[in-house]
Symmetry: C2
Subunit: 285 residues, 2 copies
C-alpha cells in the first residue's frame, strides 16, 4: 500500500504507530476525566464505562493497561485526561477482516480550561438529531461527527452549546453533556433509550438526588418541558453541573436545587481528591 | 500536554503529523475510489461529493490539492484509492476553538480485493439504525461507528452485509452501499432524507435507468418491499452493483434488470479507463 499524508510519502500503512482503523473510521471509544491533585476523578466509573463500550465494539483492552496509561500521564495540576482506545489493524472492510492487531491505547493530559465550573450555558436547539436507534448514541465512541456539527452550529448562532433532540423530536442531550430539569421536587433526565450517553456525572446526580430532597426520574422530555422547568442544568465530567440560562434566546429559570447538585458533586470530589473544584479554579478565572 | 500512545511517550500532541481532531473525534470525511488502468474512476464526482461534505463540516481543502494527492498514490494495477481529509488543530472542545490549522489530507492506494464485482450478497436486517436526522448520514464522514457496529453484527449472524433501517423503521442502506429494488419497470431507491449516503454509483444508476427501459424513482421502502421485489441490489464505488440474494434467510428474487445495470456501469467504466472491470478481475478470482 502506498500512502501520502499532507503531501509527504509515509512508510507503513498510516501515519501512526497503531490504531489505524480507529483513526480512519472513528472506530474506538474514549473517556474525558477530570484530574485534581494528581487524582483522576471517578476513574473506576470511567473505566467501567469504557470497558462496556469496548465490549460492545468487540475490542477489549485489559483494565490495568488502561489505568496504567492514565496514571502515567496524570499531573498534579488541575487538568483533564483523555483516554482513547482505537481499533488496530489496517485491513480494509468495515467488519475488520484479516488478522486483528490489539487496539491502541492513547492517553493525554492537558491543563483544565478556564471557566469550566458552573459557567452558565446559553443553548440553541440543534438541527442535528441524536440517533436513538444506535447503541453508539449511548457510548462515547470516536465517531463524534454529529456532536461536532451540532456544536459548530450552536457557535455560529452565538450560543454556547447545542440542545440535541432525537429523531422523535424529544430532548436527548447537549453535544457535550447530559440534560436535567427540576420541576418542583422532581429531578428528571431523559433515559438512555432517547439516544443519551450514559454520563458518569449524570449517574452520580441520579444517585445523590434523594439526599438532596429530590425525587429522581428518567423520563422523556420535550423542549417545552425545559422552557417551563424550575431549573435546567447540563452535566459532564469536567463542568460537573452548569446552569442552562437560555434556550434559543428564551430565558430559563434556575432554582437553588441546581446549585445544591453542583455543591454536592464538589463535596464528593473533595472526599476523593482532597481539593474543592471551586477553590482550585475559581469561576471565570 | 503529555501524551502516551501504546505505552510509549510521544513528543508533540498526538501521534500523527496533522489531523489531530480528525483522528480523535472522527472529524473529517473520505472517499473510496475504484482505480483501473491508472485511472481513478468517476474522480470528478468523488471530489464533488467530498468538497460538499467538507463545506458542511466547515473545513474546505483546495480541489487541486486533493486531486494531486490521489494521482500521486494511484498505481497501474486494479486498486482502490482512499482519500481522507481530517480536521487539524489540537485545541480541546468540539467547536474547534483556538487557532485552526489547515485540514490534513491523506491518500492511500491498495490492490483491489478479490471477488469484489457482482458477488451475491446475503443480508441481515441490523439492529443499528441510520440517523436520518443528521446531515452526517448523507455524507461519508470519518465517524463510521454505526456502520461498523452494523457490519460486525451482520458478520456475527453469518451474513455478508447489514441492511440498515432508519429510526422510522424504513429501509435506509447497507453498511457499505445503497439499496435499489426493481419492481416491474420501476427502479426505486430511498431518498437522502431517509438517512442515505449520496452514493456516486447510486446517482449513476439513477441517471442511466431510462436508457435501460426502467423508470427511476427515489421513494421510501419497507423491508416488505424488498422481500416482494423482482430484484434487489446494492451499489457502491467498488462493487458497482451486487445482487442481494437473501435477507435474514429469505431468498430474494433477481431479474435480469439488475444485471443490465451492472453491465451498463461496466460499459461506462470501459469508456473512462479502457478496461472492463469484469475482465480485469474475473468473478471470484
Amino acid at each position: 500500500m502506498r500512502t501520502r499524508f499532507d503531501g509527504k510519502s509515509i512508510s507503513g500503512t498510516v501515519p501512526a504507530p497503531g490504531g489505524e482503523r480507529g483513526i480512519l473510521l472513528g472506530d474506538g471509544a474514549f473517556e474525558t476525566i477530570l484530574s485534581l491533585n494528581g487524582t483522576p476523578v471517578w476513574l473506576a466509573a470511567h473505566l467501567d464505562r469504557l470497558e462496556a463500550a469496548l465490549s460492545t465494539l468487540g475490542m477489549p483492552v485489559g483494565r490495568k493497561h488502561m489505568e496504567d496509561e492514565v496514571r502515567a500521564v496524570t499531573g498534579r495540576e488541575p487538568g483533564v485526561v483523555r483516554l482513547s482506545v482505537l481499533r488496530g489493524g489496517s485491513g480494509r472492510g468495515l467488519a475488520g477482516a484479516g488478522p486483528e492487531v490489539p487496539p491502541a491505547v492513547l492517553a493525554s493530559f492537558a491543563p483544565l480550561p478556564r471557566g469550566v465550573f458552573r459557567e452558565p450555558v446559553r443553548m440553541a436547539v440543534s438541527s442535528v438529531r441524536r440517533n436513538e436507534g444506535s447503541p453508539s448514541s449511548r457510548m462515547k465512541t470516536l465517531s463524534y461527527a454529529d456532536n461536532i456539527l451540532a456544536s459548530r452550529e450552536a457557535a455560529a448562532k452565538g450560543a454556547d452549546e447545542a440542545l440535541m433532540l432525537n429523531n422523535a423530536g424529544r430532548v436527548a442531550s447537549a453535544s457535550i453533556g447530559n440534560i436535567f430539569i427540576v420541576r418542583g421536587a422532581r429531578l428528571i433526565t431523559p433515559p438512555g433509550t432517547e439516544g443519551v450517553l450514559g454520563g458518569i456525572t449524570r449517574r452520580r446526580v441520579l444517585e445523590m438526588a434523594s439526599g438532596l430532597g429530590l425525587e429522581a426520574a428518567e423520563a422523556p422530555l420535550s423542549v417545552g418541558d425545559l422552557v417551563s422547568a424550575d431549573a435546567v442544568f447540563m452535566t459532564n465530567s469536567l463542568r460537573l453541573a452548569s446552569p442552562v440560562t437560555e434556550l434559543d434566546g428564551t430565558a430559563l429559570k434556575c432554582t437553588d436545587a441546581a446549585y445544591r447538585v453542583f455543591s454536592r458533586l464538589c463535596a464528593d470530589i473533595v472526599s476523593e481528591t482532597g481539593l474543592d473544584p471551586r477553590e482550585t479554579l475559581p469561576r471565570g478565572q
